[in-house]
């Protein structure tokens, strides 16, 4: 069978989604938060169903009742933790250690829930990983990173991505991520290089400025602010955009699923522009443009995504997947963990 490229497509519209979003919020308030579980499912369904591959949408299948139960349980646990903080620091420390060791479990459960409830062509995705491996990736590495003065960080990012992708499956077919440590270090090295150059340039400029200026202290402060805003802010946004883009592309371009592989062509410039415009729009509209920002972000990211397949798209087989509970997912949501895929 010959190779063919299939583009992902996003059909969501900001106007349509805005109405769904605002109704979600109002119903969530009116029902004192109970509807928020249904709101979450509707939002996710909207994005999944508007993501199409070969003119076929993805499906989000989670049961809102399960999410509600998970959410209440997660909420109760977090409340307990906050109360323990009020009562005694020793108790809080103990709870914190328990949470630390529960973290890998929470992450596995959250991924399980999300993937089990994602489907394409009526075949579910799934996630299966053991606790010890997750402990190494999510607790071991974060301890190692400061000990190596950050040198282990690119390896940590790779381990995280690899953990998530290698344990994911579509039906009976498992995903694989083949990007090497060398490639991850390459990306971070380049980012560090840009940073170094920018710092050197800034120092040189500051020297120049100093030797030229005869001015008072006031204008020196002004010059400093000017530097911060004009050089540092764009620099940080660029570096952030560069890292996000390169890592996403690297990971996706080295991800495979049987005879399929994926291609991602995000560009740093577009990601930075997206990020800046979204942030400004959300701030200036007091949050009302959040749906618009979500839609255009999804549209751009999916427009850059392609699947290259040399096999039969009808040949994927469903697996006997175990059912997933929502507690992990909701804890993850409330704790705002960044699993990052």
């Amino acid at each position: 069978m010959q190779t063919s490229a299939k583009h992902f497509e996003f059909r969501g519209e900001a106007g349509e989604f805005f109405k769904i979003w605002i109704v979600n919020i109002v119903l969530s308030i009116v029902t004192l938060g109970i509807y928020s579980a249904w709101a979450k499912v509707r939002t996710k369904r909207y994005f999944y169903s508007n993501t199409l591959l070969m003119n076929t949408p993805f499906d989000y299948l989670a049961d809102p009742l399960k999410i509600l139960k998970g959410r209440l349980l997660a909420f109760g646990l977090i409340l307990l933790y906050s109360l323990s903080a009020l009562l005694s620091p020793v108790l809080q420390g103990a709870v914190l250690i328990i949470i630390l060791f529960a973290l890998p479990w929470i992450i596995i459960k959250a991924l399980k829930f999300n993937l089990y409830n994602s489907a394409y062509r009526n075949i579910r995705f799934s996630f299966d990983a053991d606790y010890l491996r997750a402990l190494g990736v999510f607790i071991g590495f974060p301890i190692l990173v400061p000990l190596t003065l950050g040198l282990a960080y690119p390896a940590f990012v790779r381990a995280r991505k690899k953990f998530v992708i290698d344990h994911s499956a579509y039906g009976t077919s498992t995903f694989t991520m083949e990007a090497t440590n060398g490639q991850f270090y390459g990306v971070y090295l380049k980012a560090a290089g840009i940073m170094l150059l920018a710092v050197l340039a800034a120092v040189a400029l500051a020297r120049l400025n100093q030797s030229l200026s005869l001015a008072s202290e006031g204008s020196a402060v002004f010059a400093l602010l000017f530097f911060m805003l004009l050089i540092w802010l764009p620099l940080f946004i660029t570096i952030y955009g560069y890292l996000y883009t390169s890592i996403s592309n690297l990971v996706i371009n080295h991800t495979g699923l049987q005879q399929c592989r994926f291609e991602s062509a995000l560009t740093t410039a577009a990601i930075c522009r997206l990020y800046i415009v979204n942030t400004l729009a959300i701030m200036l509209s007091l949050g009302l443009l959040i749906p618009w920002a979500m839609i255009r972000t999804a549209r751009y990211r999916l427009s850059c995504l392609t699947m290259v397949s040399s096999g039969d798209m009808n040949a994927f087989i469903a697996a006997e997947a175990e059912k997933a509970e929502a507690l992990g997912e909701e804890l993850d949501d409330l704790l705002d963990l960044d699993i990052g895929l």
Binding site: V26, P57, L288, A315
Partner: protein, 338 residues
């Protein structure tokens, strides 16, 4: 009878099969494709609620699934069999701009109402339900960390301390709770008094020195007793957490870019809450002082002194969370003249 075009998936493989689906008035559903003919019943089929114009899923009992773009036809089938009427209403609401715009107005109003009235009320009831022991433990805990971090032992002479304690227990005796007055020295706080949950009241040496007579001192202490009586400490902790939870609930699904919009209103309402608490404590103090036959003018005077002493340099501004001192003094005088 309604017939629609759909794609059939058996749930075992990713094969797509184009089919015609016929909904008969009896509730029987007939699915016909090139290599397939099967019948099922409406009661054994779960139809996903309509969501914008996304493709509709119909889940069959055996794990198979139909996908169709013909949303309107599926809607009319649902109507005919009276299934999920409220889902249809939900879709109708989500479709119209008029409803969406009213939702914006209702949403903002409700959020404001929840923060302005709902949260304080909930915190009030929660504080009431809290066992006294918990509140006392929170107070002791806070005192221990404050002693470590901020306070040194008081340098006020024993005789003066004993006199102050005696007059304090006189006014505290009329209030229900058990109270303890603690004197502490702190450079950072300057002239200040703090009420902790459970009835611990701390006054700094600088405050004792600032007060020109015992009555002024008692006025400040009465104000702090007011804070404890109304359980302001525990209530403000509860209110802060509740506001934060409310914001997470509201914006939790709106992705993390919104964290700024979640913290900003929280900060804004916090100062509003504390102003209300100060006014409550002031009123309590005035009543207590009147019962004890202490002229409210002493209260006004010590507020002026505090204002002057804090005008310049201390890190912790006793008055920052309080309403403008002049306004408070005005209120005190107006109540007194009545």
């Amino acid at each position: 009878m309604i017939t629609i075009k759909a794609i059939y998936y058996d749930g075992r493989s990713s094969t797509q099969l184009p089919v015609l689906v016929t909904f008969e008035t009896s509730g029987v559903i007939v699915i016909e494709g090139e290599t397939l003919r099967l019948t099922t019943h409406f009661n054994r089929t779960t139809i996903a609620s309509r969501l914008g114009n996304t493709r509709r899923s119909l889940f069959l009992a055996d794990g198979a699934k139909l996908e169709t773009d013909d949303n309107d036809a599926v809607d009319s089938v649902c109507r005919e069999f009276g299934q999920n009427p409220w889902q249809a209403i939900l879709h109708r609401i989500e479709q119209r701009w008029l409803y969406a715009l009213s939702a914006v107005v209702v949403g903002i109003t409700l959020t404001w109402a929840a923060i302005a009235f709902g949260v304080p009320l909930a915190a009030f009831w929660a504080a009431k339900a809290l066992p006294v022991g918990v509140e006392q433990q929170v107070g002791e805990q806070t005192l221990a960390s404050l002693d470590n971090w901020l306070f040194t032992a008081s340098e006020i002479g024993d005789a003066e301390q004993a006199q102050l304690q005696q007059r304090f227990s006189q006014i505290a005796a009329t209030a229900p709770g058990p109270y303890r007055l603690l004197l502490r020295n702190s450079k950072k706080l300057g002239a200040n008094a703090i009420a902790l949950p459970g009835g611990l009241i701390i006054a700094t040496d600088a405050l004792v020195e600032l007060a020109e007579n015992d009555e002024q001192m008692l006025a400040v202490l009465a104000h702090e007793i007011g804070h404890v009586e109304y359980r302001h400490g525990i209530r403000s902790i509860l209110q802060d957490s509740l506001t934060a939870i409310l914001m997470i609930g509201l914006l939790g699904d709106a992705s993390s870019i919104s964290s700024l919009s979640a913290t900003l209103p929280t900060v804004l309402v916090e100062s509003r809450y504390s102003r209300q608490f100060e006014q409550e404590a002031d009123r309590f103090a005035l009543n207590l002082l009147r019962e004890q036959g202490i002229d409210a003018e002493h209260f006004a005077r010590i507020l002026t002194l505090l204002n002057q002493s804090h005008h310049s340099d201390t890190e912790f501004d006793y008055l920052s969370s309080h309403p403008a001192t002049n306004k408070r003094i005005e209120i005190i005088r107006s109540l007194e003249s009545r």
